[in-house]
C-alpha cells in the first residue's frame, strides 16, 4: 500500500512528463532543421525563408527545390490546426512536395500530384493544407505560380507600390480528389521583391485584439523597399513584434522572400545539380 502511494505521488508522472518534454524538444529540433535549412544561393538575386512556430512545433512549411532546367521551385504551406498534429502533417506535406517536384513540369502539376498523394490521408483525418507553389525562372525573370487555397504572394515594386499577384483558382489540398490547379505567370523586374507568407502574419493580434492585417504588412514592405532579403525579413518580424507588444503568438508565422538584384540572376545549387542553359 505504502509503495503504491509512493508510486502514485512521486516520480513516475514527473519522468513521463520529462520524457514527453524531451521528445517534443527532439521533434522541434527535427522540424526546425528540416524547415530552416540552407537557402539556395542566387547570383544577382537573393532568396530567404523563415518559419516561427507559435508553439514548440508548428504546421507551417516552406521549401525550395532546384530543378534541372535551372528554375527554382518554391513552396509555402499552412496545415490546418496547430502544434503536434499539424507538425505531423507538415512532414507529410514536405515528403509529397519533394517527391512531386522531381516529376512534375510546373507548379500546377506539382499541386495536383501532392493532392493525389495526400487526399485520402487528409480526408481520413478531417484535415487540409493550403499551399502556394511557384517556379522562379532566373533567365526570363518570370514567376509562374499555382495556389491550393493559399494567400497569393505580394510583389513590392517600389517604395510606393506593392500589389498582390493576380488571382487564380485552386482548392486546398485534401479538399477535392483528382483536382487540377490553374497557373499564372508574372514578370519580376530588377530590384523588385516577391513576398510569400502564411496568415500567421496578417492575423497576428495586439493587446486590443486587433489584427496586423495586410495593410500593415504592405506598408512595412514598401517602407523597407531596397533592403536585402534578410534585412527585410527582420523588418517584418520587428514590425509584427512592435505591433503585438508581447501578446503571445497564436499562429505560426512563415515567410519566403525572393529579390531580383541588378543583372541576370543565376541560381547556384546547394544540393542539386545545375544544368547550365
Amino acid at each position: 500500500m505504502f509503495r503504491r502511494e509512493l508510486s502514485l505521488n512521486n516520480p513516475e508522472p514527473d519522468n513521463k512528463t520529462k520524457t514527453l518534454e524531451r521528445e517534443i524538444k527532439l521533434a522541434r529540433n527535427i522540424q526546425m532543421k528540416l524547415l530552416n535549412g540552407n537557402n539556395p544561393k542566387i547570383e544577382n538575386g537573393q532568396i530567404s525563408g523563415i518559419s516561427i512556430p507559435a508553439r514548440l512545433i508548428g504546421g507551417d512549411y516552406y521549401d525550395f527545390y532546384l530543378l534541372s532546367n535551372g528554375k527554382l521551385r518554391i513552396v509555402i504551406g499552412d496545415v490546418m490546426g496547430k502544434g503536434i498534429p499539424a507538425a505531423m502533417l507538415m512532414i507529410l506535406t514536405r515528403g509529397a512536395f519533394r517527391s512531386a517536384a522531381e516529376s512534375t513540369k510546373g507548379p500546377g502539376e506539382t499541386l495536383t500530384a501532392m493532392n493525389n498523394a495526400m487526399y485520402e490521408d487528409l480526408r481520413t483525418l478531417g484535415s487540409f493544407v493550403t499551399v502556394l507553389c511557384a517556379d522562379w525562372d532566373p533567365c526570363q525573370r518570370t514567376l509562374t505560380y499555382a495556389s491550393a487555397g493559399h494567400n497569393l504572394p505580394l510583389v513590392v515594386k517600389s517604395i510606393h507600390e506593392v500589389f498582390e499577384a493576380p488571382k487564380i483558382k485552386g482548392v486546398m489540398l485534401g479538399g477535392l480528389p483528382s483536382t487540377s490547379y490553374e497557373e499564372n505567370s508574372i514578370k519580376i523586374e530588377e530590384e523588385e521583391l516577391v513576398f510569400f507568407y502564411t496568415d500567421g502574419i496578417t492575423e497576428a493580434l495586439n493587446q486590443d485584439g486587433e489584427m496586423f492585417r495586410i495593410d500593415r504588412l504592405e506598408e512595412t514592405l514598401k517602407k523597407n523597399y531596397g533592403l536585402d532579403v534578410k534585412e527585410m525579413e527582420e523588418s517584418i518580424t520587428n514590425s509584427i513584434d512592435k505591433f503585438t507588444e508581447n501578446v503571445p503568438q497564436k499562429d505560426d508565422i512563415t515567410m519566403v522572400l525572393l529579390k531580383v538584384n541588378h543583372d541576370q540572376t543565376n541560381i547556384t545549387s546547394y544540393n542539386s545539380p545545375v544544368i547550365n542553359p
Binding site: K82, G126, F128, A148, H150, G175, M211
Partner: protein
Amino acid sequence: MKDTVEVKKEIDDNQCILHVSGVLDYSTMEPFIEEIQSIEEGIAKVVVHFGGLEFIDSTGIGSIINLVHEANTKKFEVELDGINEEIQELFETIGVFEIMDSIQKGGE
C-alpha cells in the same frame, strides 16, 4: 475581438439553423462541433448563419468542410448564410464553396 464563440440552435420543422457568432477557431470550436454532432436524423437541411462571426481560422474552416462531408453521408443539405465580405473572400481563396458545390452535386 473576444476569444469565444456562441452557437444557438433553432429547429424549424426539418430544418436546423445554427447561429454562429464570435470567434470560431482552434481554441473555441468545441460548442460548434458538439452542435454538429447532435444533428438528429430526419433533418433535411442545416443552415449555418454566420451573421455574427468575427473571425474563423483553418480549424474552423475544417469543421465546416467536415460538416459538408457528413451531410453528404447522412443525406442532408448544408447552406452557409450571412457571411461577411472578408470571410467570403477567405472561403473563396481556400475553395470552400467549390468543395461544397462539388460534394453536394455528387462530385465526390
